[in-house]
């Protein structure tokens, strides 16, 4: 459609707006909203003691909901009708942001990394901020790990938290029973998590995508239930505590050194401060996350990475070209699991205490939301989404309470409006040298 005819259509649409139909549609929507809200919003149950429930009514809320839906529906339709000629799909703010991010990928990345490195040294930085940054970075790393599985290979993994848990418990058990330190246990955590990934992946990766989702979900729950009930080893619901903190090349962060050892502040002749450890932990996760990023973006340009993306787009064609889908998927699954295991290992050492409660399905859903909201396959989108999702609850109790509600709604909204994610701007990682414009 050319611009001129588009403009004409727009004018025409304005002139011939069918108000009766629009109003009827909005009224119907409001009616449905009323019916939806009536039982669950209109009546609220509450405890009155003695195992009985009382009920109070909130019909005003129902009316508000209906009015909001009425107005929203009307506004949405008006906007759609008026814009129909314009064909502005994909020309949204985020699309432009995504395209801009792609064009300026290198400078943005460098500024981002510089900011992340400088964060603890900045004047406004505080222990709270560094802690928050650490949490964000854990999710960034998990997001990048899951991105390999979901974004690149197109396998929907709803049990990613299982590998995170395996990594965390591997370190906790190695530290408790064999006395290994964080740096000694880190490779094992990744290795064990990867083995779990391969063992799970072998039988189930032949399945169709949505079956795989459910099986991974079941697997995540199995791991959690086992952790919860296998008390002699995992400590059951009480979890494992006193997990050692990471040391700086063998120098522990403590006020007073254990026998025969030098602490970090003694070695460097500094005043002891707990902030040193917090800052150090922040830098550890920053390094881990950056290595993850480097690793995954390098993989993407290797044959295996190309095979992942090709498989995501068309499995049948891949098979015809001689790619073994199961092996390719298995490698994505195993690598994703390994990265999750590393992150879990770090989580354990940072918290100093782990229990099955940290590894529920909601955690998996959060990581998945980060990948999906950010734009599947987009490294920068993951960072943006992780910052958004982690800091949202920090803005206040209201946000904390509604966080998961907003998550859920956002996942639906993004699938409906921008199915490829907020910052998804898909550039082929490989391009034929001469672009044939005639083919368009």
């Amino acid at each position: 459609m050319t611009a001129a005819s588009g403009l004409a259509v727009e004018k025409e649409a304005l002139a011939t707006l069918d108000w009766a139909a629009l109003l009827k549609d909005a009224v119907l929507a409001a009616l449905v909203a009323t019916l939806l809200a009536l039982p669950l919003v209109g009546f609220q149950t509450y405890d009155i003691g003695g195992g009985a429930l009382g009920i109070r009514t909130h019909f005003d809320w129902v009316a508000t909901a209906a009015a909001a839906v009425f107005a929203g529906r009307l506004a949405l339709h008006l906007r759609q009708r008026l814009r129909r000629g314009g064909e502005r799909h994909g020309e949204t703010l985020f699309a432009r942001l995504g395209a801009w991010g792609n064009r300026r990928a290198l400078p943005i990345t460098l500024v981002g990394i510089a900011f992340a490195v400088a964060l603890p040294l900045l004047p406004f930085s505080s222990r709270y901020l560094i802690d928050l940054g650490t949490t964000v970075l854990i999710y960034v790393m998990l997001g990048w790990g899951l991105n390999v599985v979901v974004g690149l290979a197109g396998l929907l993994d709803l049990g990613y938290v299982a590998f995170y848990a395996v990594g965390a418990y591997t370190f906790a058990l190695l530290a408790r029973d064999l006395g290994l330190t964080f740096w000694q246990a880190l490779p094992f955590s990744g290795l064990v998590a990867a083995s779990f990934g391969v063992i799970l992946g072998l039988p189930v990766l032949r399945l169709r995508g949505d079956y795989l989702a459910i099986v991974t979900l079941g697997f995540g729950e199995i791991i959690r239930i086992v952790l919860l009930n296998w008390s002699p080893v995992t400590g059951g619901p009480n979890g494992i505590s006193d997990i050692p903190r990471p040391s700086f090349f063998g120098l522990p962060f403590a006020r007073s050194a254990p026998e025969g050892a030098t602490t970090f502040h003694q070695f460097f002749g500094l005043e002891f401060s707990p902030a040193q450890r917090v800052t150090y932990i922040y830098f550890v996760i920053l390094a881990l996350a950056l290595v993850t990023n480097l690793f995954t973006s390098r993989l993407r340009t290797l044959p295996i990475g190309r095979a992942w993306e090709a498989l995501r787009e068309d499995e049948v064609a891949c098979r015809a070209l001689g790619i073994n889908p199961t092996n390719v998927k298995l490698s994505a699954f195993g690598i994703g699991a390994m990265l999750g295991g590393f992150a879990g290992c770090f989580f354990a050492t940072r918290q100093g205490f782990i229990s099955p409660e940290s590894f529920t399905f909601i955690e998996s859903a959060t990581i998945l939301a980060i990948v999906v909201l950010g734009g599947m396959g987009s490294q920068m989108g993951v960072v943006l989404a992780a910052i958004l999702l982690v800091t949202l609850p920090e803005f206040g109790r209201a946000f904390a309470e509604f966080r998961m509600l907003i998550f859920g709604a956002a996942m639906v909204a993004i699938m409906v409006w921008r199915p490829r994610g907020l910052l998804a701007h898909r550039e082929p990682s490989l391009r034929l040298r001469a672009r044939r414009s005639a083919a368009r």
Binding site: L53, L156, I214, V215, L405, G408, V412
Partner: protein, 304 residues
Amino acid sequence: MAYFLQQLINGLTLGSIYGLIAIGYTMVYGIIGMINFAHGEIYMIGAFISIIAFLVLGLIGVSYVPLALALVLLTTMLFTAIYGWTVERVAYRPLRGSFRLAPLISAIGTSIFLQNYVQILQGAREKPMLPLVQGGFTVFESGGFAVRLSYLQLLIMLVTLALMAGFTTFIATTPLGRAQRACEQDIQMAALLGVDVDRVISMTFVMGAALAAVAGLMVTLYYGVVDFFIGFLAGVKAFTAAVLGGIGSLPGAMLGGILIGLIEAFWSGYFSVEYKDVSVFGVLILVLVFRPTGLLGRPELEKV
């Protein structure tokens, strides 16, 4: 022997409930080929609506139990069906023809949304429900162990049977049922031949939600407590039931539901209660690995 029989009764009751939920999964999968991940939440919403309906009826002063049950059944089915319809309309319909994983991700979002919606509105604590249908009879007694069949268990099984019979007849004889079967076989061809595909899909969600609502009501009566999180596990188990029976097959869903109920009951009765959910997930993985088409399902052809 007596213990075995008791577990059998418990398993059949549980299985009836799973079977009713599983039908919703299997029908939606049969027609549009997606896993309606939010179906478990629809069942949870059914349970909450039923508890609220009971309370409201109590306030109005309806105290005759059969009447109250019938009224609650109808209102729960009606309101839950509207939820099912809305979910399809808002979260799934715009995604038809989108990329493969989009509807599933949208469904997960819906599921998270509905869970938190109920949690925020009704609170996170368990909602108790006073026992409404009490009593039962002893089927037989041996060695000091009495096998009990409560009236409630009997009611659950009978209602499930009646619904299943009615539902099967509906699918087999009515025009809508015929349209549903046509869509299940070939949705494009059905559309070409004048079947209003959108309407058929909407009605499928409405029916699935109504059946899940019945399951929610029965679970409320059976366990006496409801919380906002019950939909997750029940959903996964019912999905397992649908897969076990052969996804897309209605008798399969019922059979699978009953088998899952039995597996769960016997596992908790003879092995360990803690790992009963693991047993169900294990069955799911085993079935998918060794017999992805399920017991009564047809093999799925992959077309380019």
